[in-house]
């Protein structure tokens, strides 16, 4: 008789053109995300899973499965990654990566970019009331925490800066909208780009904000 253990009929792979069952897709997403240290874009998941798979659904299942575990599924922009639970950080002293200490200027510049993005260098300087050192932005660019956004459609077409997915990943944010206190700051008008009160004749030079009014206390224009 035939007492071989395998039941070849159940194998999912003989239905070559059907997407695998959702539970199987969940396993696949789990494997792909586990294997990567970097967040994986949802569309890349779709590309790597068998044709017809729906990673979005699988991700919902997976997120639930890892709720409260030592490892959690987190969303980073349009991407997903497994990360250890924050409450277990005390176990991880051995894994801590020594990062370069950021200067106060760099930290403030980063925060301004995150909360005001897209933001020009002149605007950062206006907010901090001091010139931005070239090296400061370079450092943030190099860490891949900020990148260039679109040019501003104002005279001189200055470049703008925005934060990256790496930034979101580092600070455990799903998106830039989840920045702590963002709503309150916006409600308080503190994210407005409020120009200094009009100065009459001095105003004319203000248009080309590039140089003169670096520290921009109102009226210190020239």
């Amino acid at each position: 008789m035939n007492d071989t253990p395998q039941a070849p009929d159940d194998l999912p792979n003989d239905s070559l053109f059907d997407a695998p069952p959702l539970a199987e897709q969940e396993r696949m997403v789990e494997a792909v995300l586990f294997a990567s240290a970097e967040p994986v874009m949802e569309k890349e998941l779709a590309a790597r899973l068998p044709h017809g798979s729906d990673p979005a659904k699988a991700l919902v299942l997976l997120e639930k499965r890892y709720e409260g575990r030592g490892v959690r599924l987190v969303r980073v922009g349009g991407a997903w990654a497994f990360r250890t639970a924050p409450d277990l950080s005390f176990l991880m002293r051995r894994e801590v990566v020594e990062t370069r200490k950021l200067s106060r200027a760099a930290i403030e510049t980063l925060a301004i970019i995150a909360y005001h993005q897209p933001v020009t260098r002149a605007e950062i300087e206006e907010i901090r009331g001091v010139g931005v050192n070239r090296g400061t932005i370079d450092q943030l660019l190099e860490m891949d925490w900020v990148r260039l956004g679109r040019r501003r459609m104002t005279p001189g077409r200055p470049v703008t800066f925005v934060v990256t997915e790496t930034f979101l990943d580092h600070f455990g944010l799903e998106s830039a909208r989840d920045l702590p206190g963002l709503k309150e700051l916006r409600a308080a008008g503190l994210l407005d780009n409020r120009p200094p009160p009009a100065e009459g004749e001095a105003q004319e030079t203000d248009g080309s904000e590039e140089d003169g009014d670096l520290f921009a206390p109102p009226g210190s224009g020239d």
Binding site: A35, S36, E38, M92, E95, A114, G129, G200, P217, G219
Partner: protein
């Protein structure tokens, strides 16, 4: 709102004391706005209710003190001092109706806004840096498995490529009558094309001359050309390992047979 009676609360002496404490640290400030923010803390009020006039005075005292101690302040600190002195005068003097510029109140309000905004950004930065951070509080997979890349080349060609290729070949062909199609010439390509399918049958040594095409043996010119090109074709095939060549002695017939390795 900036001309509150608190102005008088900050005495000259207090301000000087504060300035002296701050002056030690002048390098520690990130510019005049930062210094103003630090000074404003001595007022111990919400930034929205701050006395800009008092703040301007504190700042001016600070700058005076620095001069007294012969500390060189960066130009932007002095620019700010000049502007604050101007602001102070605007706040204290009754508004001049002939003056087109913004009122002292507007200017003061904007300065208060800038301070509040800077402080808000500073708080936001602190909250940001205090979050659970990757590599410090939260960790990624320590042993990521690499994704092997399998390169697969996909070749493409357009119909135009195809037609151009064919056109190129046919153009070449059009010129053939000029160059090649003289009656007495058998090209090596022709000889090769003829010889190639035939050698399969050349199991035994056979005279090369027997491979000359019909109609090429009578006319000596044609025969010479045919023999030369067939010999060249035979050499080519021998080079390719498809046949073997043999000649018993000088001017003896050249013989060929198929290579025998397929058996």
């Amino acid at each position: 709102m900036s001309e509150t009676p608190e102005t008088g609360n900050v005495t000259e002496i207090d301000a000087r004391r504060a300035a002296e404490a701050l002056i030690v640290d002048v390098d520690g400030f990130e510019g005049p706005l930062d210094l103003l923010l630090s000074l404003s803390r001595t007022q111990k009020v919400d930034l929205r209710r701050i006395s800009v006039l008092a703040l301007a005075e504190q700042y001016l005292v600070f700058v005076d003190k620095a001069r007294e101690l012969r500390i060189e302040l960066a130009a932007d600190y002095l620019v700010m001092a000049a502007w604050l002195a101007y602001l102070k005068s605007r706040l204290l003097l009754p508004p001049d109706p002939a003056d087109e510029g913004p009122s002292g109140e507007d200017m003061a309000a904007h300065l208060a806004f800038q301070l509040e905004r800077l402080e808000a950004m500073r708080d936001a930065a602190a909250r940001l840096m205090g979050r659970d951070r990757l590599g410090r509080d939260v960790f990624a997979r320590g042993q990521p498995e690499t994704v092997g890349r399998v390169r697969r080349a996909q070749f493409t060609a357009s119909l135009l490529d195809l037609m151009q290729a064919y056109a190129r070949l046919r153009t070449k062909d059009d010129f053939r009558p000029f160059v090649m199609d003289r009656n007495a010439i058998l090209t090596m390509e022709e000889a090769l094309a003829r010889l190639r399918p035939l050698i399969g049958y050349a199991g035994e040594w056979t005279d090369l001359a027997s491979y000359l095409p019909d109609g090429w043996t009578a006319d000596p010119l044609r025969r010479r050309s045919a023999l030369a090109s067939t010999f060249a074709a035979a050499l080519e095939l021998a080079k390719a390992g498809q046949l073997e060549l043999d000649q018993a002695e000088n001017f003896a017939p050249i013989r060929l047979r198929a290579t025998r390795d397929k058996a």
